[in-house]
Amino acid sequence: MSESEMAIIKPEVMKSYIWLQTADGSIQQVEEEVAMFCPMICREIIQTGMGSSKNYAISLPQRVNPSILSLILDYCRFHQVPGRSNKERKSFDEKFIRIDTKRLCELTSAADSLQLKPLVDLTSRALARMIEGKTPEEIRETFHLPDDLTEEEKLEPLRNTADDPRIRLLNRLYARKRKELKEREKLKNVEVEEEHVDERSVDDLLSFINGGDGDSKVPKTSKHKKKNRRRKDQAKDVSSDNDPADLSSVEPSPSKTSKIQEAAVDSLAAKVEFDDGDIDDELDPAMKEELDREVEDFARRLNSDWPERMQEILSSGQERRHAPISMNGNGSLRRYTGLERR
């Protein structure tokens, strides 16, 4: 009789236990109301009916190991009691999360796998508090993170990090370095350009020196016009490129170099033969004056980068695809370089 009675008695009347098995195989039992606080366990019990005895223990996800499980059950045990005030719960929570970061991370992970959202939120907030307001070094130390970003990657401009004065300083230094590198590259390009520019302009110069006293400027033929335009453009390029370059290294005394220039031009004069179909034109004096002025101007411009160009030409002796005149020009120039050096 008593046995059948026992069978009829529902389990809720007696204090019942749920059996839980962690990934490593160990089994423990826990009060039912405590276990039911975990949504995942609750679902398991209701849907599959497991957990009522040792043989049918509910297997918990892999991320839950026994020590963490006992922590979680402590949490559940406290919070499942309905009568507690908010203040009590809060102070329990504050004390509860005062564990080392390693365990805190494990706890977060385990709570997540058991879908215990309040605990996940609590631990996430605790971890966030450990990150907030700290410097990267402090954070790395707290969580044992490897410092494996390259300096370049760290300083890729995320202006948001600009608050840390050290990072700002590093950013600035790097920006400066980058600027310098860019400038140096630009200079190289400019110098290469100048080489072209100057070669042609020397030709032009020679051509109109040959064609008389500066009257080849009149743009009668298209060819000439083009040459002039090109020259003007190149002149412009030259002048504009020159500005940022290290003018400090270039301080020719106009008089000296103009002399050299004239000498060079003279020596080349004989060798040049250019087709200038419009040389014979009569120019009015005003135009002539203007042209003279332009020539002078142009000469000055040439002079300003003469020495550097020399160096370039000397150092890169390969580029000889220009007109023969250039070769000769170089040859004679070389001589004058020597002169200048002394």
Binding site: T101, C105, I131, I139, F143, D147, L149, N160
Partner: protein
């Protein structure tokens, strides 16, 4: 530059992504983005942050627009919430692009306070705002809202809460916007202008708060509406105050469709607005659920306003809490006779306010009309528990007179307590 870490292994970097997001969401935006320089693992963990909040606490003082640009560009994946509030925007360049970007990332909560300081006009919201089809909560402040003329593609199918502060409306009425948000539950329009008619057709609306100028208001289809607050400012056309002089009472038109409301707040010019037209003795509907009534700016010398008040009283049998703030009508004559007569009449016409428990009267002057009113209430509220009186601050000598008078009145309720507060003493408990 690789440094070897000391003993201890890295537990946090390999937590599941939802936990990492949970952690980062609890950080201010600056710290969250800064985690990108911790280690290679952490480089782009913040980029999937579902909530991007630039508010006053984020303490970004300069280059705000640049920073927002960068954050949005690096961000990956959907953005659940974007907030920009409490920060002084110096210009509105880029906001269009942000809204377009957010609309493509399934944004659900959008809070934008665009209070552009200094000179220049307000910012006009782009039409891409209406592409944010997943919005559930929209809060905007300090801009121009251009409602497109056709309702095609207009509404937000999931919008539950809409809060617009200091907005200028341009375009058609707001009615079509409201009706195209079928799930709307809370609507707050504070300090708006540019609307003439407000037609509320919202089957799920629970709370509405309106404070601004309009000409007409009507509640068409609000079966669930429980909380209504209307603070109307004078609607001016060309300077003068215009109040619609319809034949049918504004009162009936406006409050007609609110059968289930539980709380009603009327203030500013609303009472005057409701008092135009013919004021019925009693409203056609009985508001059986109305429990709390808050009436602001009641000018006791104005017969029309008082008739509206009594009309309301007759239609709210279950009223439990009544709060009235008085106001002196500075232009009107202080002729109290008509009002007194009217109130006498009401006195004798039978009991109402059978369930009134709490009454609070603020800013009263101790005028005879006001005292008569209180007398009326005390005599007709059988279950009244508390009556709090807080006079206008200028009233000093008249104060004690008022008290004497009040003590003299007979009370229908044996439990009634009269609490008299000195000006500024009253605390807002209960």
């Amino acid at each position: 530059m690789k440094t070897v870490t000391s003993s201890g292994c890295d537990r946090i970097s390999y937590l599941p992504i939802n936990i990492i997001e949970n952690i980062l969401v609890n950080l201010p935006i600056k710290d969250a983005v800064r985690t990108s320089i911790l280690s290679t693992e952490w480089r782009y963990k913040w980029a999937t942050l579902p909530k991007i909040v630039f508010d006053y606490e984020s303490r970004i003082k300069s280059k705000l627009i640049k920073i927002v640009h960068q954050v949005l560009l690096i961000h990956v994946g959907y953005i659940k919430k974007f907030e920009l509030s409490g920060l002084a925007l110096r210009s509105c360049s880029g906001i269009d692009k942000w809204i377009l970007f957010l609309s493509r990332n399934a944004i659900e909560e959008l809070i934008l306070h665009i209070d552009v300081g200094g000179g220049g006009g307000k910012y006009t919201l782009p039409s891409s705002l209406f592409h944010c089809k997943q919005l559930r909560y929209l809060e905007l402040r300090g801009c121009i809202f251009r409602i497109p003329p056709t309702s095609k593609g207009l509404g937000f199918n999931h919008l539950k809460r809409l809060r617009l502060y200091n907005i200028t409306f341009v375009g058609s009425t707001i009615g079509c916007l409201i009706s195209s948000c079928p799930l709307l539950e809370i609507l707050e329009l504070d300090d708006f202008n540019g609307l003439t008619d407000i037609e509320v057709d919202a089957p799920n609306l629970i709370l509405i708060y309106l404070c601004g100028s309009f000409r007409r208001i009507c509640f068409k289809n609000c079966p669930l509406l429980v909380n209504v607050a209307i603070y109307k400012c004078g609607y001016s056309i060309g300077g003068s105050n215009y109040i619609d002089q319809g034949r049918r009472s504004n009162l009936i038109k406006a409050l007609g469709g609110l059968a289930r409301i539980e709380e009603l707040k009327l203030g500013n010019e609303t009472m005057k607005f409701l008092a135009t037209g013919n004021i019925p003795r009693k409203l056609p509907h009985i508001y059986n659920h109305l429990r709390r009534l808050y009436l602001d700016c009641i000018t006791f010398c104005n017969l029309k306003v008082i008739s509206v008040v009594f009309c309301l009283f007759k239609s709210v049998p279950k009223l439990q809490r009544l709060e009235i703030s008085a106001q002196l009508d500075k232009g009107a004559p202080r002729d109290m006779e008509p009002v007194l007569e009217f109130m006498e009449e009401q006195f004798h016409s039978g009991c109402f306010l059978n369930e009134l428990q709490v009454v609070k009267m603020r800013y009263i002057y101790g005028m005879r009309v006001e005292l008569e009113f209180l007398k009326l209430l005390l005599a007709n509220a059988p279950v009244l528990e508390t009556m709090c009186i807080a006079p206008e601050s200028e009233v000093t000598a008249a104060g004690s007179n008022m008290c004497k008078e009040l003590l003299r009145f007979c009370r229908a309720s044996p439990k009634a307590k009269i609490l008299y507060f000195e000006p500024y003493e009253e605390s807002d408990e209960d």
